[in-house]
Symmetry: C2
Subunit: 287 residues, 2 copies
Protein backbone atom coordinates (compact mmCIF):
# COMPACT_ATOMS: atom_id res chain seq x y z
CA UNK A 1 0.00 0.00 0.00
CA UNK A 2 1.25 3.50 -0.84
CA UNK A 3 1.38 6.20 1.83
CA UNK A 4 1.81 9.88 1.02
CA UNK A 5 1.89 13.04 3.10
CA UNK A 6 0.14 15.97 1.41
CA UNK A 7 0.85 19.58 2.32
CA UNK A 8 -1.45 22.29 1.01
CA UNK A 9 1.01 25.18 0.69
CA UNK A 10 -1.64 27.54 -0.63
CA UNK A 11 -5.31 26.86 -1.27
CA UNK A 12 -4.39 25.98 -4.83
CA UNK A 13 -0.92 24.40 -4.66
CA UNK A 14 0.63 21.62 -2.65
CA UNK A 15 3.29 18.95 -2.40
CA UNK A 16 3.25 15.25 -1.69
CA UNK A 17 5.98 13.18 -0.08
CA UNK A 18 6.02 9.40 -0.01
CA UNK A 19 6.11 7.98 3.49
CA UNK A 20 7.88 4.89 4.75
CA UNK A 21 6.51 5.15 8.26
CA UNK A 22 5.12 7.50 10.91
CA UNK A 23 7.75 7.64 13.66
CA UNK A 24 5.88 10.03 15.96
CA UNK A 25 2.50 11.70 16.09
CA UNK A 26 1.06 13.76 18.94
CA UNK A 27 -0.96 16.88 19.61
CA UNK A 28 1.05 19.04 21.98
CA UNK A 29 -0.52 21.95 23.83
CA UNK A 30 0.31 24.16 20.84
CA UNK A 31 0.28 22.12 17.67
CA UNK A 32 0.16 18.80 15.87
CA UNK A 33 3.65 17.26 15.71
CA UNK A 34 4.47 14.48 13.26
CA UNK A 35 7.76 12.82 12.36
CA UNK A 36 7.74 10.83 9.13
CA UNK A 37 10.41 8.62 7.71
CA UNK A 38 10.52 9.26 3.95
CA UNK A 39 12.53 7.60 1.15
CA UNK A 40 13.24 10.93 -0.61
CA UNK A 41 14.28 13.22 2.25
CA UNK A 42 14.96 10.96 5.26
CA UNK A 43 13.29 11.87 8.53
CA UNK A 44 10.95 14.85 8.23
CA UNK A 45 9.42 17.08 10.93
CA UNK A 46 5.88 18.30 10.24
CA UNK A 47 4.10 20.85 12.46
CA UNK A 48 0.39 21.49 11.87
CA UNK A 49 0.65 19.67 8.53
CA UNK A 50 3.50 21.89 7.22
CA UNK A 51 7.02 20.52 6.65
CA UNK A 52 9.50 22.29 8.97
CA UNK A 53 12.57 20.48 7.70
CA UNK A 54 13.85 17.26 6.23
CA UNK A 55 17.01 15.50 7.34
CA UNK A 56 18.42 15.76 3.81
CA UNK A 57 17.93 19.49 3.21
CA UNK A 58 17.74 21.17 6.64
CA UNK A 59 21.25 22.52 6.18
CA UNK A 60 20.13 25.30 3.85
CA UNK A 61 17.63 27.01 6.14
CA UNK A 62 19.61 26.50 9.34
CA UNK A 63 22.94 27.70 7.90
CA UNK A 64 21.40 30.76 6.29
CA UNK A 65 19.42 31.81 9.36
CA UNK A 66 22.11 30.88 11.87
CA UNK A 67 25.21 32.19 10.08
CA UNK A 68 24.41 35.26 7.98
CA UNK A 69 23.55 37.65 10.87
CA UNK A 70 26.31 36.24 13.11
CA UNK A 71 29.08 36.66 10.54
CA UNK A 72 27.89 40.15 9.65
CA UNK A 73 28.44 41.11 13.33
CA UNK A 74 31.93 42.05 14.48
CA UNK A 75 31.78 40.07 17.73
CA UNK A 76 28.42 38.35 18.42
CA UNK A 77 28.86 37.00 21.95
CA UNK A 78 25.24 36.72 23.00
CA UNK A 79 22.46 35.32 20.82
CA UNK A 80 18.71 34.99 21.31
CA UNK A 81 16.75 32.52 19.21
CA UNK A 82 12.96 32.73 19.32
CA UNK A 83 11.51 29.40 18.18
CA UNK A 84 14.08 27.03 16.70
CA UNK A 85 13.38 24.32 19.26
CA UNK A 86 14.87 21.77 16.88
CA UNK A 87 18.32 23.20 17.60
CA UNK A 88 19.38 23.72 13.97
CA UNK A 89 19.89 27.49 14.17
CA UNK A 90 21.74 27.13 17.50
CA UNK A 91 24.02 24.45 16.03
CA UNK A 92 24.95 26.84 13.21
CA UNK A 93 25.39 29.92 15.44
CA UNK A 94 27.92 28.06 17.55
CA UNK A 95 30.15 27.80 14.47
CA UNK A 96 30.83 31.50 14.92
CA UNK A 97 34.02 31.74 17.03
CA UNK A 98 32.77 34.64 19.20
CA UNK A 99 29.45 33.14 20.33
CA UNK A 100 29.60 32.49 24.09
CA UNK A 101 25.96 32.25 24.99
CA UNK A 102 22.66 31.36 23.27
CA UNK A 103 19.23 31.75 24.85
CA UNK A 104 16.72 29.63 22.96
CA UNK A 105 13.08 30.43 23.69
CA UNK A 106 10.79 27.72 22.29
CA UNK A 107 7.15 27.90 23.29
CA UNK A 108 6.60 24.19 22.70
CA UNK A 109 8.93 22.03 24.79
CA UNK A 110 7.64 18.98 22.93
CA UNK A 111 9.45 20.20 19.79
CA UNK A 112 12.73 20.17 21.73
CA UNK A 113 12.09 16.66 23.04
CA UNK A 114 11.06 15.28 19.66
CA UNK A 115 14.11 16.82 17.97
CA UNK A 116 16.48 15.36 20.56
CA UNK A 117 14.93 11.94 20.06
CA UNK A 118 14.52 11.82 16.27
CA UNK A 119 16.97 14.40 14.90
CA UNK A 120 20.16 14.07 16.97
CA UNK A 121 22.26 15.62 14.16
CA UNK A 122 20.13 18.78 14.27
CA UNK A 123 19.62 18.93 18.05
CA UNK A 124 23.27 18.01 18.72
CA UNK A 125 24.18 21.31 20.42
CA UNK A 126 21.08 21.71 22.57
CA UNK A 127 23.03 20.15 25.45
CA UNK A 128 26.02 22.47 24.92
CA UNK A 129 26.86 24.43 28.07
CA UNK A 130 26.61 27.69 26.09
CA UNK A 131 22.93 27.00 25.22
CA UNK A 132 20.12 27.77 27.68
CA UNK A 133 16.63 26.62 26.74
CA UNK A 134 13.49 28.43 27.90
CA UNK A 135 10.14 26.71 27.32
CA UNK A 136 8.06 29.86 27.20
CA UNK A 137 6.38 32.38 24.92
CA UNK A 138 9.04 34.30 22.96
CA UNK A 139 6.82 37.37 22.79
CA UNK A 140 6.60 37.64 26.59
CA UNK A 141 10.30 36.87 26.93
CA UNK A 142 11.35 39.64 24.58
CA UNK A 143 8.89 42.16 26.04
CA UNK A 144 10.46 41.56 29.46
CA UNK A 145 14.00 42.18 28.20
CA UNK A 146 12.81 45.31 26.42
CA UNK A 147 10.98 46.64 29.50
CA UNK A 148 13.86 45.95 31.89
CA UNK A 149 16.08 47.84 29.46
CA UNK A 150 19.34 46.62 31.03
CA UNK A 151 22.30 46.53 28.65
CA UNK A 152 23.59 43.39 30.38
CA UNK A 153 20.42 41.46 29.48
CA UNK A 154 20.41 42.46 25.82
CA UNK A 155 21.69 40.54 22.81
CA UNK A 156 24.09 40.96 19.91
CA UNK A 157 21.96 38.81 17.62
CA UNK A 158 18.24 38.01 17.69
CA UNK A 159 16.93 35.34 15.32
CA UNK A 160 13.27 34.56 14.72
CA UNK A 161 13.06 30.91 13.72
CA UNK A 162 9.30 30.58 13.59
CA UNK A 163 6.61 28.54 11.90
CA UNK A 164 4.25 30.20 9.40
CA UNK A 165 2.29 33.29 10.55
CA UNK A 166 -0.77 31.29 11.59
CA UNK A 167 -1.31 29.52 14.93
CA UNK A 168 1.34 29.85 17.67
CA UNK A 169 3.71 32.01 15.58
CA UNK A 170 1.18 34.67 14.53
CA UNK A 171 2.35 37.25 17.08
CA UNK A 172 5.93 36.94 15.86
CA UNK A 173 5.00 38.85 12.70
CA UNK A 174 3.48 41.89 14.47
CA UNK A 175 4.89 45.40 14.84
CA UNK A 176 4.90 45.43 18.67
CA UNK A 177 6.98 42.26 18.68
CA UNK A 178 9.50 43.70 16.19
CA UNK A 179 9.74 46.88 18.29
CA UNK A 180 10.40 44.89 21.46
CA UNK A 181 13.06 42.87 19.61
CA UNK A 182 14.82 46.03 18.44
CA UNK A 183 14.75 47.25 22.05
CA UNK A 184 16.32 43.98 23.22
CA UNK A 185 19.40 44.33 21.04
CA UNK A 186 22.66 45.86 22.21
CA UNK A 187 24.22 48.71 20.29
CA UNK A 188 25.44 47.22 17.02
CA UNK A 189 22.96 44.35 17.29
CA UNK A 190 21.53 42.45 14.32
CA UNK A 191 18.04 41.02 13.95
CA UNK A 192 16.88 38.43 11.40
CA UNK A 193 13.60 36.63 10.86
CA UNK A 194 12.40 34.02 8.39
CA UNK A 195 9.82 35.78 6.23
CA UNK A 196 8.33 33.14 3.93
CA UNK A 197 8.39 32.89 0.11
CA UNK A 198 8.82 35.88 -2.22
CA UNK A 199 6.68 34.05 -4.79
CA UNK A 200 3.76 33.31 -2.44
CA UNK A 201 3.97 35.87 0.40
CA UNK A 202 4.56 39.26 -1.20
CA UNK A 203 2.39 41.18 1.24
CA UNK A 204 3.96 39.70 4.35
CA UNK A 205 7.46 40.50 3.05
CA UNK A 206 6.43 44.01 2.12
CA UNK A 207 4.88 44.67 5.56
CA UNK A 208 7.74 43.20 7.59
CA UNK A 209 10.39 44.97 5.51
CA UNK A 210 8.65 48.30 6.01
CA UNK A 211 8.68 47.89 9.80
CA UNK A 212 12.28 46.65 9.95
CA UNK A 213 13.40 49.57 7.76
CA UNK A 214 11.85 51.98 10.27
CA UNK A 215 13.47 50.29 13.27
CA UNK A 216 17.05 49.81 12.06
CA UNK A 217 19.84 51.85 10.50
CA UNK A 218 20.30 49.13 7.89
CA UNK A 219 17.79 46.61 6.61
CA UNK A 220 17.96 44.02 3.86
CA UNK A 221 16.21 40.94 2.56
CA UNK A 222 18.20 37.85 1.67
CA UNK A 223 17.15 34.57 0.09
CA UNK A 224 18.10 30.92 -0.05
CA UNK A 225 16.93 27.87 -2.00
CA UNK A 226 15.02 25.64 0.43
CA UNK A 227 13.47 22.61 -1.30
CA UNK A 228 10.04 21.48 -0.08
CA UNK A 229 9.25 24.95 1.33
CA UNK A 230 6.58 26.72 -0.77
CA UNK A 231 8.09 27.70 -4.16
CA UNK A 232 11.57 26.54 -3.07
CA UNK A 233 12.81 30.11 -2.56
CA UNK A 234 12.84 31.40 1.00
CA UNK A 235 13.37 34.89 2.39
CA UNK A 236 14.92 36.26 5.57
CA UNK A 237 14.58 39.88 6.67
CA UNK A 238 17.56 41.40 8.47
CA UNK A 239 17.82 44.63 10.43
CA UNK A 240 21.10 45.94 11.74
CA UNK A 241 21.92 48.80 14.10
CA UNK A 242 25.43 49.32 12.77
CA UNK A 243 27.11 46.62 10.69
CA UNK A 244 26.27 46.00 7.04
CA UNK A 245 24.30 42.72 7.13
CA UNK A 246 25.20 42.02 3.50
CA UNK A 247 28.87 41.18 4.00
CA UNK A 248 31.04 39.14 6.30
CA UNK A 249 32.59 41.45 8.90
CA UNK A 250 36.32 42.06 8.57
CA UNK A 251 36.83 40.58 12.05
CA UNK A 252 36.69 37.15 10.31
CA UNK A 253 39.42 37.89 7.78
CA UNK A 254 41.56 35.03 9.13
CA UNK A 255 38.69 32.65 9.83
CA UNK A 256 38.75 29.34 7.93
CA UNK A 257 35.23 28.95 6.50
CA UNK A 258 36.32 25.77 4.71
CA UNK A 259 37.29 24.02 7.94
CA UNK A 260 36.13 20.41 8.09
CA UNK A 261 34.63 20.83 11.55
CA UNK A 262 32.27 23.53 10.30
CA UNK A 263 30.73 21.25 7.67
CA UNK A 264 29.22 24.16 5.73
CA UNK A 265 27.13 22.71 2.92
CA UNK A 266 25.46 25.92 1.73
CA UNK A 267 27.00 28.97 3.41
CA UNK A 268 30.24 30.65 2.39
CA UNK A 269 31.27 34.32 2.51
CA UNK A 270 30.49 34.50 -1.24
CA UNK A 271 27.00 33.01 -0.72
CA UNK A 272 26.50 35.43 2.19
CA UNK A 273 26.99 38.39 -0.16
CA UNK A 274 25.14 36.93 -3.16
CA UNK A 275 22.09 35.97 -1.07
CA UNK A 276 21.36 39.72 -0.77
CA UNK A 277 21.42 40.22 -4.56
CA UNK A 278 17.72 40.18 -5.36
CA UNK A 279 15.86 39.51 -8.61
CA UNK A 280 13.93 42.52 -9.90
CA UNK A 281 10.52 41.13 -8.90
CA UNK A 282 11.63 40.98 -5.25
CA UNK A 283 13.18 44.46 -5.37
CA UNK A 284 9.80 45.63 -6.60
CA UNK A 285 8.06 44.06 -3.55
CA UNK A 286 10.41 46.02 -1.27
CA UNK A 287 9.98 49.36 -3.01
CA UNK B 1 -15.95 19.01 -7.59
CA UNK B 2 -12.23 19.62 -7.05
CA UNK B 3 -9.77 19.05 -9.89
CA UNK B 4 -6.03 18.76 -9.32
CA UNK B 5 -3.07 18.06 -11.59
CA UNK B 6 -0.43 15.85 -9.95
CA UNK B 7 3.17 15.74 -11.12
CA UNK B 8 5.45 13.02 -9.81
CA UNK B 9 8.77 14.84 -9.83
CA UNK B 10 10.64 11.84 -8.46
CA UNK B 11 9.28 8.44 -7.52
CA UNK B 12 8.87 9.73 -3.99
CA UNK B 13 8.01 13.43 -4.32
CA UNK B 14 5.46 15.40 -6.27
CA UNK B 15 3.40 18.53 -6.57
CA UNK B 16 -0.29 19.22 -7.04
CA UNK B 17 -1.87 22.22 -8.73
CA UNK B 18 -5.58 23.02 -8.58
CA UNK B 19 -7.19 23.21 -11.99
CA UNK B 20 -9.94 25.50 -13.19
CA UNK B 21 -10.21 23.90 -16.62
CA UNK B 22 -8.39 21.91 -19.27
CA UNK B 23 -7.90 24.29 -22.21
CA UNK B 24 -6.13 21.84 -24.50
CA UNK B 25 -5.20 18.18 -24.50
CA UNK B 26 -3.69 16.17 -27.36
CA UNK B 27 -1.09 13.53 -28.07
CA UNK B 28 1.25 14.91 -30.69
CA UNK B 29 3.64 12.66 -32.60
CA UNK B 30 6.19 13.19 -29.82
CA UNK B 31 4.41 13.76 -26.53
CA UNK B 32 1.27 14.44 -24.53
CA UNK B 33 0.49 18.17 -24.54
CA UNK B 34 -1.86 19.71 -21.98
CA UNK B 35 -2.75 23.31 -21.22
CA UNK B 36 -4.47 23.89 -17.89
CA UNK B 37 -6.00 27.03 -16.53
CA UNK B 38 -5.09 27.23 -12.84
CA UNK B 39 -6.08 29.70 -10.10
CA UNK B 40 -2.57 29.80 -8.58
CA UNK B 41 -0.34 30.18 -11.65
CA UNK B 42 -2.59 31.13 -14.56
CA UNK B 43 -2.29 29.11 -17.75
CA UNK B 44 0.16 26.25 -17.46
CA UNK B 45 1.84 24.13 -20.17
CA UNK B 46 2.37 20.47 -19.30
CA UNK B 47 4.33 18.07 -21.53
CA UNK B 48 4.24 14.34 -20.73
CA UNK B 49 2.77 15.15 -17.30
CA UNK B 50 5.59 17.57 -16.32
CA UNK B 51 5.02 21.32 -15.94
CA UNK B 52 7.08 23.24 -18.53
CA UNK B 53 6.04 26.69 -17.38
CA UNK B 54 3.25 28.69 -15.83
CA UNK B 55 2.10 32.08 -17.05
CA UNK B 56 2.89 33.60 -13.66
CA UNK B 57 6.48 32.37 -13.25
CA UNK B 58 7.83 31.64 -16.75
CA UNK B 59 9.90 34.81 -16.63
CA UNK B 60 12.56 33.28 -14.37
CA UNK B 61 13.55 30.36 -16.57
CA UNK B 62 13.21 32.22 -19.86
CA UNK B 63 15.17 35.29 -18.75
CA UNK B 64 17.96 33.26 -17.21
CA UNK B 65 18.37 30.92 -20.20
CA UNK B 66 17.82 33.60 -22.83
CA UNK B 67 19.85 36.46 -21.36
CA UNK B 68 22.85 35.16 -19.39
CA UNK B 69 24.78 33.66 -22.35
CA UNK B 70 23.81 36.51 -24.68
CA UNK B 71 24.97 39.29 -22.34
CA UNK B 72 28.21 37.45 -21.58
CA UNK B 73 29.00 37.58 -25.34
CA UNK B 74 30.53 40.72 -26.81
CA UNK B 75 28.32 40.82 -29.90
CA UNK B 76 25.92 37.85 -30.25
CA UNK B 77 24.44 38.35 -33.71
CA UNK B 78 23.36 34.81 -34.49
CA UNK B 79 21.59 32.52 -32.04
CA UNK B 80 20.47 28.89 -32.24
CA UNK B 81 17.81 27.60 -29.85
CA UNK B 82 17.23 23.85 -29.71
CA UNK B 83 13.77 23.18 -28.27
CA UNK B 84 12.08 26.26 -26.85
CA UNK B 85 9.11 26.00 -29.20
CA UNK B 86 7.09 28.13 -26.79
CA UNK B 87 9.15 31.16 -27.81
CA UNK B 88 10.12 32.29 -24.30
CA UNK B 89 13.89 31.99 -24.76
CA UNK B 90 13.67 33.68 -28.20
CA UNK B 91 11.63 36.55 -26.73
CA UNK B 92 14.36 37.14 -24.13
CA UNK B 93 17.29 36.79 -26.57
CA UNK B 94 15.84 39.52 -28.74
CA UNK B 95 16.25 41.93 -25.81
CA UNK B 96 19.98 41.82 -26.54
CA UNK B 97 20.69 44.74 -28.87
CA UNK B 98 23.12 42.80 -31.11
CA UNK B 99 20.90 39.81 -31.91
CA UNK B 100 20.03 39.87 -35.63
CA UNK B 101 18.98 36.33 -36.24
CA UNK B 102 17.59 33.38 -34.26
CA UNK B 103 17.15 29.87 -35.60
CA UNK B 104 14.71 27.95 -33.41
CA UNK B 105 14.70 24.20 -33.92
CA UNK B 106 11.69 22.60 -32.22
CA UNK B 107 11.07 18.95 -32.98
CA UNK B 108 7.36 19.22 -32.12
CA UNK B 109 5.57 21.82 -34.23
CA UNK B 110 2.47 21.29 -32.11
CA UNK B 111 4.26 23.00 -29.19
CA UNK B 112 4.75 26.10 -31.34
CA UNK B 113 1.09 26.11 -32.41
CA UNK B 114 -0.22 25.59 -28.87
CA UNK B 115 2.02 28.35 -27.50
CA UNK B 116 0.90 30.81 -30.17
CA UNK B 117 -2.72 30.03 -29.36
CA UNK B 118 -2.65 29.88 -25.54
CA UNK B 119 0.48 31.83 -24.53
CA UNK B 120 0.65 34.87 -26.80
CA UNK B 121 2.79 36.75 -24.23
CA UNK B 122 5.42 34.04 -24.38
CA UNK B 123 5.21 33.28 -28.09
CA UNK B 124 5.00 36.99 -28.97
CA UNK B 125 8.29 37.11 -30.93
CA UNK B 126 7.90 33.88 -32.89
CA UNK B 127 6.54 35.93 -35.78
CA UNK B 128 9.46 38.40 -35.61
CA UNK B 129 11.31 38.62 -38.92
CA UNK B 130 14.57 37.83 -37.13
CA UNK B 131 13.25 34.44 -35.96
CA UNK B 132 13.25 31.40 -38.26
CA UNK B 133 11.49 28.27 -36.99
CA UNK B 134 12.55 24.76 -38.05
CA UNK B 135 10.23 21.90 -37.13
CA UNK B 136 12.88 19.22 -37.05
CA UNK B 137 15.16 17.19 -34.80
CA UNK B 138 17.71 19.49 -33.15
CA UNK B 139 20.27 16.69 -33.01
CA UNK B 140 20.21 16.21 -36.80
CA UNK B 141 20.21 19.97 -37.36
CA UNK B 142 23.28 20.55 -35.26
CA UNK B 143 25.14 17.54 -36.69
CA UNK B 144 24.62 19.00 -40.18
CA UNK B 145 26.04 22.41 -39.20
CA UNK B 146 28.98 20.70 -37.54
CA UNK B 147 29.69 18.45 -40.55
CA UNK B 148 29.42 21.28 -43.10
CA UNK B 149 31.89 23.20 -40.93
CA UNK B 150 31.23 26.54 -42.65
CA UNK B 151 31.93 29.58 -40.50
CA UNK B 152 28.99 31.41 -42.12
CA UNK B 153 26.52 28.76 -40.87
CA UNK B 154 27.77 28.75 -37.29
CA UNK B 155 26.37 30.58 -34.26
CA UNK B 156 27.48 33.00 -31.57
CA UNK B 157 25.11 31.48 -29.02
CA UNK B 158 23.57 28.01 -28.77
CA UNK B 159 20.87 27.42 -26.17
CA UNK B 160 19.41 24.04 -25.26
CA UNK B 161 15.88 24.64 -24.02
CA UNK B 162 14.81 21.05 -23.61
CA UNK B 163 12.39 18.94 -21.62
CA UNK B 164 13.72 16.44 -19.06
CA UNK B 165 16.24 13.82 -20.26
CA UNK B 166 13.61 11.19 -20.96
CA UNK B 167 11.52 10.85 -24.13
CA UNK B 168 12.18 13.20 -27.07
CA UNK B 169 14.93 15.19 -25.29
CA UNK B 170 17.08 12.23 -24.22
CA UNK B 171 19.66 12.69 -27.00
CA UNK B 172 20.17 16.34 -26.02
CA UNK B 173 22.07 15.22 -22.92
CA UNK B 174 24.60 13.00 -24.76
CA UNK B 175 28.30 13.62 -25.44
CA UNK B 176 28.05 13.41 -29.25
CA UNK B 177 25.38 16.11 -29.22
CA UNK B 178 27.47 18.40 -27.01
CA UNK B 179 30.48 17.85 -29.30
CA UNK B 180 28.43 18.73 -32.39
CA UNK B 181 27.13 21.84 -30.63
CA UNK B 182 30.66 22.97 -29.75
CA UNK B 183 31.59 22.45 -33.43
CA UNK B 184 28.62 24.59 -34.52
CA UNK B 185 29.73 27.66 -32.58
CA UNK B 186 31.80 30.46 -34.06
CA UNK B 187 35.04 31.51 -32.45
CA UNK B 188 34.06 33.18 -29.18
CA UNK B 189 30.74 31.33 -29.10
CA UNK B 190 28.82 30.50 -25.92
CA UNK B 191 26.73 27.41 -25.20
CA UNK B 192 24.17 26.96 -22.44
CA UNK B 193 21.78 24.15 -21.55
CA UNK B 194 19.18 23.66 -18.86
CA UNK B 195 20.53 20.91 -16.62
CA UNK B 196 17.81 20.15 -14.07
CA UNK B 197 17.86 20.47 -10.25
CA UNK B 198 21.04 20.41 -8.13
CA UNK B 199 18.99 18.84 -5.32
CA UNK B 200 17.51 16.00 -7.40
CA UNK B 201 19.83 15.51 -10.39
CA UNK B 202 23.39 15.48 -9.05
CA UNK B 203 24.65 12.82 -11.44
CA UNK B 204 23.29 14.48 -14.56
CA UNK B 205 24.88 17.80 -13.57
CA UNK B 206 28.18 16.12 -12.77
CA UNK B 207 28.24 14.29 -16.13
CA UNK B 208 27.25 17.27 -18.28
CA UNK B 209 29.67 19.62 -16.49
CA UNK B 210 32.54 17.19 -17.08
CA UNK B 211 31.86 17.08 -20.83
CA UNK B 212 31.38 20.86 -21.15
CA UNK B 213 34.61 21.47 -19.24
CA UNK B 214 36.47 19.32 -21.77
CA UNK B 215 34.93 21.06 -24.77
CA UNK B 216 35.27 24.74 -23.79
CA UNK B 217 37.94 27.14 -22.57
CA UNK B 218 35.56 28.30 -19.84
CA UNK B 219 32.69 26.44 -18.22
CA UNK B 220 30.39 27.28 -15.33
CA UNK B 221 27.13 26.30 -13.72
CA UNK B 222 24.58 28.93 -12.81
CA UNK B 223 21.27 28.67 -10.95
CA UNK B 224 17.91 30.37 -10.67
CA UNK B 225 14.84 29.96 -8.46
CA UNK B 226 12.10 28.42 -10.62
CA UNK B 227 8.95 27.64 -8.59
CA UNK B 228 7.06 24.46 -9.50
CA UNK B 229 10.18 22.88 -11.05
CA UNK B 230 11.51 20.02 -8.89
CA UNK B 231 13.03 21.50 -5.67
CA UNK B 232 12.53 25.07 -6.94
CA UNK B 233 16.23 25.51 -7.74
CA UNK B 234 17.24 25.06 -11.37
CA UNK B 235 20.66 24.79 -13.00
CA UNK B 236 22.08 25.83 -16.36
CA UNK B 237 25.46 24.68 -17.64
CA UNK B 238 27.41 27.17 -19.73
CA UNK B 239 30.48 26.64 -21.91
CA UNK B 240 32.32 29.51 -23.53
CA UNK B 241 35.10 29.58 -26.11
CA UNK B 242 36.44 32.96 -25.07
CA UNK B 243 34.30 35.31 -22.95
CA UNK B 244 33.78 34.81 -19.22
CA UNK B 245 30.16 33.56 -18.97
CA UNK B 246 29.93 34.80 -15.37
CA UNK B 247 29.82 38.52 -16.10
CA UNK B 248 28.10 40.94 -18.42
CA UNK B 249 30.47 41.82 -21.26
CA UNK B 250 31.86 45.35 -21.22
CA UNK B 251 30.27 45.95 -24.63
CA UNK B 252 27.02 46.63 -22.70
CA UNK B 253 28.47 49.29 -20.40
CA UNK B 254 26.02 51.90 -21.75
CA UNK B 255 23.07 49.54 -22.10
CA UNK B 256 19.97 50.39 -20.03
CA UNK B 257 18.97 47.13 -18.32
CA UNK B 258 16.22 48.95 -16.44
CA UNK B 259 14.50 50.07 -19.63
CA UNK B 260 10.72 49.68 -19.49
CA UNK B 261 10.56 47.94 -22.85
CA UNK B 262 12.82 45.15 -21.58
CA UNK B 263 10.46 44.26 -18.71
CA UNK B 264 13.15 42.29 -16.83
CA UNK B 265 11.52 40.71 -13.80
CA UNK B 266 14.39 38.49 -12.67
CA UNK B 267 17.57 39.26 -14.64
CA UNK B 268 19.94 42.13 -13.96
CA UNK B 269 23.72 42.37 -14.37
CA UNK B 270 24.01 41.80 -10.60
CA UNK B 271 21.81 38.68 -10.77
CA UNK B 272 23.86 37.51 -13.77
CA UNK B 273 27.02 37.52 -11.64
CA UNK B 274 25.44 36.18 -8.45
CA UNK B 275 23.73 33.27 -10.23
CA UNK B 276 27.21 31.76 -10.71
CA UNK B 277 27.99 31.95 -6.97
CA UNK B 278 27.25 28.39 -5.89
CA UNK B 279 26.45 26.90 -2.49
CA UNK B 280 29.10 24.47 -1.24
CA UNK B 281 26.97 21.38 -1.92
CA UNK B 282 26.79 22.28 -5.63
CA UNK B 283 30.51 23.07 -5.82
CA UNK B 284 31.07 19.58 -4.42
CA UNK B 285 28.95 18.04 -7.23
CA UNK B 286 31.16 19.79 -9.80
CA UNK B 287 34.46 18.79 -8.25
Amino acid sequence: MESWFFENQTGNFGIKIRIKSVLFHEFSHYQEITVYDTPEFGKTLVLDKAVMFTEKNEFVYHEMLGLVPAFAHKKPEKVLIIGGGDGGAARECLKNPFVKHIDLVEIDKKVVDVSKEFFPEIACRLGDERVRIFAEDGIEFIKRINLNDKESEKYDIILIDSTDPVGPAEGLFRRDFYEAAAGSLKEGGIFAAQTESPFFNENLIKDVSKIIKELYAKSSLYCAAVPVYPSGLWSFTAGSKKYDPRTVNESYKDFDFGGQGLNLKYYSPEIHASSFVLPNFIKKILR
